[in-house]
Each structure stands twice: as C-alpha cells, then as structure tokens.
C-alpha cells in the first residue's frame, strides 16, 4: 500500500507539471493584457507596450515559460500583475473559504444522502418512492437557481440568514456558520441527490448477496446487518462517487461564490480571468489540480481501507 501511495504521488507531480504547462500555453493563446485594466481609459498602445515591458510580458515565450516553470519548482507562484499581491497570499486567504464551502457541502450531502439512500433501499414502498422522486428533483435543480431562491426567501424577504458576504471563523464562529448556511445548502442539494441514488443502488445490490441471508439466519439484528455490514460494503462505490462529486463541488463553488460574494478561489479566478492577471490565473489552476489530485489519492486510500481485495491487488 505504501508503494502504491508513493507511485501515485510521483504520478501527481508529473500531472501537476503537465497541467501547469497546458495552462501556460492556453493563457498565452488568449488575447489581451493586464495593461488595459491597469491603464483604464488611458490605455494607449504606447502605454500598454511600456507596461508589458515592465512586466516582462514582451519576452519570448520560451523565456517566459522557463521562468514560470522554474519559479513553480521553487514553489514561487509569483505576484499579481495588477497590484503586485503575492499569489500565495491570495491562496492562503482564499483557499479556506472555498474549502469550507466544499467540505461542508460534502459532509452535509454525504450524511443526508447516505442516510436517505439507506432508508430508501431498506424500507422500500412509499419511503423509497418519495426519496427517489425528491432526489430526481434535486438532480434537476441547478445550484445557482437554488442559491438565488434561498437568497430571496431566507436572506431578503425573511432576513433569517445573510444573503451575501463572509465572516472569518476567527472573528465569530456563529457568523461564519450563518454566512455559509445558504451557499452550502445550494451546493449540497444536487450532491445529496446523487449520493442518495448511489447509496440506494449499492444497498439494493448488497441486499441480494448471500452473506446478508447468512447473517439473518444467524440471528443478527436487521439494524446491525444494515448499518454495520451492508453499508460498509455499499460504501465503496459511494466513496468513489463522493470523490468525484467533491471535484464537481469545487467547480460549482465558483458560481456559488459569485452569487454569495464569497472571497474564495472561484471569485479570484474569475477576476483574474477578466483582468488577464496571468500569475494568479496560473497559480490557481495549478492549485486546483493539486487539490483534485489529493482528493483522488484520499479516495484511493479509503477504498483500499474499505475493501480488503484492493489491498491485495
């Protein structure tokens, strides 16, 4: 297992390098310059050329690429072209916001989804039909729409929860939580539906397996069979789904951060894209790739832990 983890980490380093190179090429292919933004209505060609020279943007592409890759190897993500802010400072201040959103959404969606899926599979009948129908509705509703409705209803009309903004947990934990309730709900709703269906399907499959009948024949309680034995075995595909969904949640967080004015990686990415702030763009793309790779590694380890066959593979 250790060897597997080491191999995956080495593959991850190669993948990060490939992602970094691809993002460099793609960004260079897009027209525009941060000089336009810096100069505003005084953006003459002469002024833009002067800024591009000052920022090193007029250097040959291989030189810019070499400088970028060697900086990355030193874990130096560079500085904003607009305001000289260090990219790692931006990452450190914004990553916790996005991760709070993504992790909380995943915890909520997995807790609710697994419970709902297990109940649907084991109770059947009306409970199953209601849960399955609701999960279908949940899958159909886009997160940004759900977010907008929640804002209107709970944030503006009833003023029960903040409609926008973010409070650091160091400032006030209750305010931090209250600012995340609506965006986490918007993000988690679609995920709950997916996990519910996956859990239901896996549990139904487990229910048909001989070991379940053997446990029942041995007099083990139904509760123990469902929650100790069946759920553990059913959770392997669920964990894999959770891993994929977490990556999707990170992508969905961009829209939700925009809607709720959360200072996360998503809003930073969008701002950097419109202002052509290349170091921030490249830094956040690489960061996102690293997060996805870490999540995949964690999922792999969990699967191995849950499935003894995988350990022997």
């Amino acid at each position: 297992m250790i060897g597997r983890i080491v191999r995956r980490m080495l593959e991850a380093i190669l993948l990060v390098f490939l992602v970094a190179s691809a993002s460099f090429i793609l960004i260079q292919l897009t027209p525009g310059s941060p000089a336009d933004i810096i100069l505003g209505t005084n953006a003459t060609l002469e002024g833009i050329a002067k800024i591009n020279h000052a920022l090193g943007l007029d250097q040959p592409l291989p030189v810019q690429y070499f400088n970028y890759i060697t900086s990355l190897a030193r874990l130096d993500l560079g500085r904003s072209l607009i305001n000289n802010q260090a990219v790692d400072v931006i990452v450190v201040s914004r990553l916790p916001v996005t991760m709070s959103l993504a992790v909380l959404a995943t915890i909520v969606s997995s807790a609710v989804g697994i419970l709902a899926g297990a109940v649907a599979a084991t109770h059947g009948g009306v409970a199953d039909r209601v849960i399955t129908t609701l999960s279908g509705v949940g899958l159909a509703l886009p997160a940004f729409w759900v977010g907008a409705v929640l804002v209107l209803l709970l944030g503006i009309r009833l003023q029960l929860l903040p409609a926008a903004g973010y409070t650091q947990p160091s400032e006030s934990v209750t305010e931090w939580i209250s600012h995340l309730v609506l965006p986490v709900t918007a993000l988690a709703l679609g995920q709950v539906a997916g996990i519910t269906r996956q859990t239901r399907g896996s549990m139904l499959t487990e229910a048909e397996k001989p070991y379940v009948r053997a446990l029942m024949a041995a007099g083990v309680s139904r509760r123990s069979i469902v929650w100790r034995h069946m759920l553990r075995n059913a959770s392997i595909p669920v964990v894999t789904t959770l891993g994929l969904q977490f990556v999707g949640v990170l992508g969905g967080a961009v829209v939700i951060e925009y809607l709720f004015a959360l200072p996360g990686i998503g809003t930073a990415l969008m701002s950097a894209a419109t202002t052509h702030d290349i170091p921030i763009l490249q830094g956040l793309v690489v960061l996102s790739a690293v997060v996805v790779l870490i999540v995949n590694l964690v999922v792999d380890v969990l699967v191995v832990f849950l499935n003894p066959k995988a350990r022997r593979a």
Partner: protein, 477 residues
C-alpha cells in the same frame, strides 16, 4: 463617530496601493490611507488638503502650491515639497494610468519646505482636478519605487490598513487613526470595502442588511426596482465614437453628411424609456448638464427622423447604405443591439465586435476599428475634450484634426472660467453639429444603494462618484 461602515464596491481589479498606479475605480481604497494635495467636494468645488493654496501664473505655464506643515507619513517621514516633487516624478515616470496626463509638468522646483512650483510645457487648467485624483495622493518618498508599496500603503491618510484581517483582493479593512492631522472628514471608526463582481450579490447584500452601501452602474435599473434606498446621477454618456473620420477604412465615414445622417437614425427617447426602463436621459453631447461647455439646446438638435436620415445618406451618395464595424463589450449588448436595429432601418450595417475587458480600451485607442461603443464618464470638460477630440487624444486613434477645435482648446487653457466655459461650449457644438464625430445617445445612471439607518450621503449632483467622506452616519446611528 459611528462604529463601522461596510461598502460593496466594484473594481476591475484589486487595488494597488501605489498611488501612481491607481485609477478612478480605486480612489476609495487609496483615499482612506492617503491624502490628496487638493480635495474635490461633491459639488465640484476644491478644498485645501495637503496643499493649502494653489495658483497659476498669468501665462498658465507655472503652477504654484503652498503645502501643509507638520504632517508626517506612516513611517515618520515629514511631508514637504521634496516629497511632493518625488511623488510627481513617480507618476510621470511610472506606468500608471495618469502618467500621460502628467507629461505637461516639465519640472518641479522646491522653493522651500512648504512651497513648490511646477513648470508646465503647455498650459493645463486641469491640474487641480488631477491633484484631487489618486495621482495627487502623496506617499512617503522613502517608500516610492519599492514593490512593497503596492501592498503596504505608506501615507498621511486618516486610516490604517489592517492587512492581517483583510482578505487579499477581496475584503479590505481600515481602522481610523486617533492622531490624524485633519479630522472631521470621515465619520466611521472602521471601514470595510468589499470588492464584488456581480451587482446581484451587491443588491442582495444591501437588501438583507449585510452591507451598508453598494455602488451600482451596469444594473442600476434592477437595483432601483429592488426597493432599496438609492441615490443616483447621470454618469456615463453612451455613445458611438465615429473614429475613422478620414474614411481610411470605411470611406463613407469620411463624409460629414453621412455622420450627421446617422445621428437622425437613433431613437434616443425610445432607448431611455424601454431599454433603460426610464433610467437616465436622452442626450446628443458627451458633456453632462452641470459641466462647463454643456449646451442644453444641443440635446434637441438631432431629432429621431428615419426619413431624413435616409435622404441625407442618399444625397451623400449612399442610397443603399454601407457597412462598418464597432468595437464593444458583450455586456453592452442589450443597448447596442438596439443601435444596430436603428442603423439597419436606414440601410446601414453596424457589425459589433465584442472583445474582452482586457482588450477593450486598447482596441479603441489602437485604431483597429472604425467606430467604438463607449459609455464615457466625463468628469472635467477641459480634460475630457482633450482625451477625445484633439489630434493626439487617446480616443482619436486616427488623429482627426480640426483647426477650429484646436484653436479654441488652446485659448481655453489660459482663459478665465467664463471664457473657458464659452470656448468649450463652442467646441462641444462643433463636434456634434458641424463634424458629427461622436453620436451620443443617452446618459445612464450610476449610483448607490444604502441603508439610511446606517448612512446618509451628502447632497450630490453626480459631478464625480461619491467618495467615502461624502457618507455621514444615518438616522439610526
């Protein structure tokens, strides 16, 4: 003094704390930590700040300032004429948006610690306006040239920037200084400026009480219909700049009768009533009603008359119309597509080329396109005419030149206030009536939504955006 203020403010990008690199969108971020040489009030008047007095010589080629004494920067360095000289040089030699406007300052002479004289290469009556912008904000001379200044301000301003509690490029927190040398302008102990990209989130923030103030520009109508308390004024004049006046790319645009004909095709009142939902006003000039050179009669010069437009085109030799391109941004489309329709009705095809925000201005100033959609926010008539209609104006990429305009502009540089206003009015009329260089359609509204219990704005005509010292504690404070 009220405890705190939370304001949502749009920004093209996060602020750079080096005043030489600031632009109009970043003024509030900088004004909390820096003082300008001259303070411009909401009614357009100028008040002393770090400069206590200023004047021009009779030939307009020397600008003298008397400076405050006893003021220090955050790092303890004294503010004096040497610091002013260093800051002006920093702007002139830098790559910020105001560098080109400081070019008329040929040299700075330090007379003594509290007096400085600027020698100009050409008369420039807009220096008080310039020195009231971020370019006139004074940073410590020991910090100038350091890259740290971009993220760590060093000024004489009323607040200190709390980097530890701020979120980089998103939420900036400032705390009032107890020993500020010029108290009385600001009324909140703590100010939080939050940068937002989407006005929907800003409307929600004010409506739900999460924010005290927010700025609105692109979605003013929507913000107004949300029920929050608003204050607004005309800010941008939406116009189609006909840049290729010499006809080098599109020969038709080189014909003044063609350009005049196009003006009659626009249903300006219709744009305001339907597309802008009643927000703003029709106009045919780039200057706003309270500005020097504005001519009320000019607004009714071009009526909406499709038949007349078609006849004028035919008389000019274009009975079947012609085609031209206009560079634009995609979020202007709602209005711009109406313009396409107006021109189609007279047989003219305007092909709209949408570019990204980080290419937009340079696409206009670079002379790539024969026309440009440009919502222009004029703030000072002399300066703005200089930016639009002179041979070397940045928004005149084909260098169109008119001897009459050039002569009047030169005279305006050293004229009295009354004479200058008349000269600028003459230029305004000539640009629109005789030359038809710029088709102005409507003035939009820019403004603020706010919680009146928390804040109240001072009286405002829209001469310039409301700045933080224009906000007073509200009725519930």
């Amino acid at each position: 003094m009220a405890d705190s203020l939370l304001m949502y403010t749009p920004s093209g990008a996060a602020p750079n704390f080096d005043p030489a690199n600031g632009n109009v969108n970043e003024y509030n971020f900088l004004a909390l930590v820096y003082d300008p040489l001259i303070r411009r009030m909401s009614d357009g008047s100028f008040q002393p700040d770090l400069a206590t007095d200023w004047s021009y010589s009779s030939d307009g080629l020397t600008f003298s300032m008397t400076l405050q004494s006893g003021v220090k920067f955050s790092d303890g360095t004294a503010f004096d004429a040497t610091a002013v000289k260093a800051n002006i040089e920093n702007v002139k030699n830098g790559t910020g948006s105001y560098a080109s406007q400081f070019k008329s300052i040929a040299s700075e002479t330090v007379v003594d610690a509290t007096h400085i004289q600027l020698t100009l290469s050409a008369p420039n009556p807009s220096l008080p306006v310039l020195f009231s912008t971020s370019a006139g904000m004074m940073a410590s001379p020991t910090a100038l040239g350091s890259k740290d200044l971009s993220t760590t301000p060093d000024g004489t301003g009323p607040y200190t920037y709390d980097a530890a509690d701020s979120v980089a490029n998103d939420t900036l927190i400032y705390n009032i200084k107890d020993d500020y040398w010029n108290p009385g302008h600001y009324h909140f102990k703590k100010v939080t400026l939050k940068i937002f990209s989407d006005e929907t989130a800003a409307v929600d923030a004010v409506a739900s009480g999460a924010a005290d103030i927010s700025e609105f520009s692109t979605d003013f109508a929507k913000a107004k219909s949300s029920g929050i308390t608003m204050t607004g004024a005309t800010y941008n004049v939406w116009g189609l700049g006909l840049l290729d006046r010499g006809g080098s790319i599109v020969p038709a645009l080189g014909n003044v009768e063609v350009r005049q004909a196009l003006n009659y095709a626009f249903d300006r009142a219709g744009v305001v009533n339907t597309i802008m939902q009643g927000i703003g006003a029709p106009t045919t000039q780039v200057l706003k009603p309270w500005m020097e050179g504005y001519d009320k009669d000019l607004d009714s010069y071009y009526t909406y008359d499709v038949a007349k437009a078609k006849q004028m085109l035919a008389d000019a030799g274009y009975p079947n119309g012609f085609t031209f391109r206009a560079v634009s941004l995609s979020f202007f489309d709602v209005e711009v597509q109406a313009w396409v329709g107006f021109l189609q009705a007279i047989g003219v095809t305007m092909t709209v080329v949408d570019v990204s925000p980080d290419q937009y201005i340079s696409s206009i100033t670079g002379g790539k396109y024969e026309a440009a959609v440009l919502p222009y926010g004029a703030l000072d008539s002399y300066f703005d005419i200089g930016q639009l209609f002179l041979p070397d104006s940045s928004f005149n990429p084909f260098h169109s030149s008119d001897d009459q305009i050039n002569a009047w502009y030169k005279q305006a540089a050293i004229a009295s206030a009354t004479d200058r206003a008349n000269l600028l009015k003459q230029i305004n009329n000539r640009v629109e009536k005789d030359l038809a260089w710029w088709i102005c359609v409507n003035g939009d509204e820019f403004g603020y939504g706010y919680d009146p219990k928390k804040v109240q704005p001072v009286a405002w005509t829209g001469l310039r955006p409301l700045l933080l010292y224009d906000w007073l504690p509200g009725t519930g404070a």
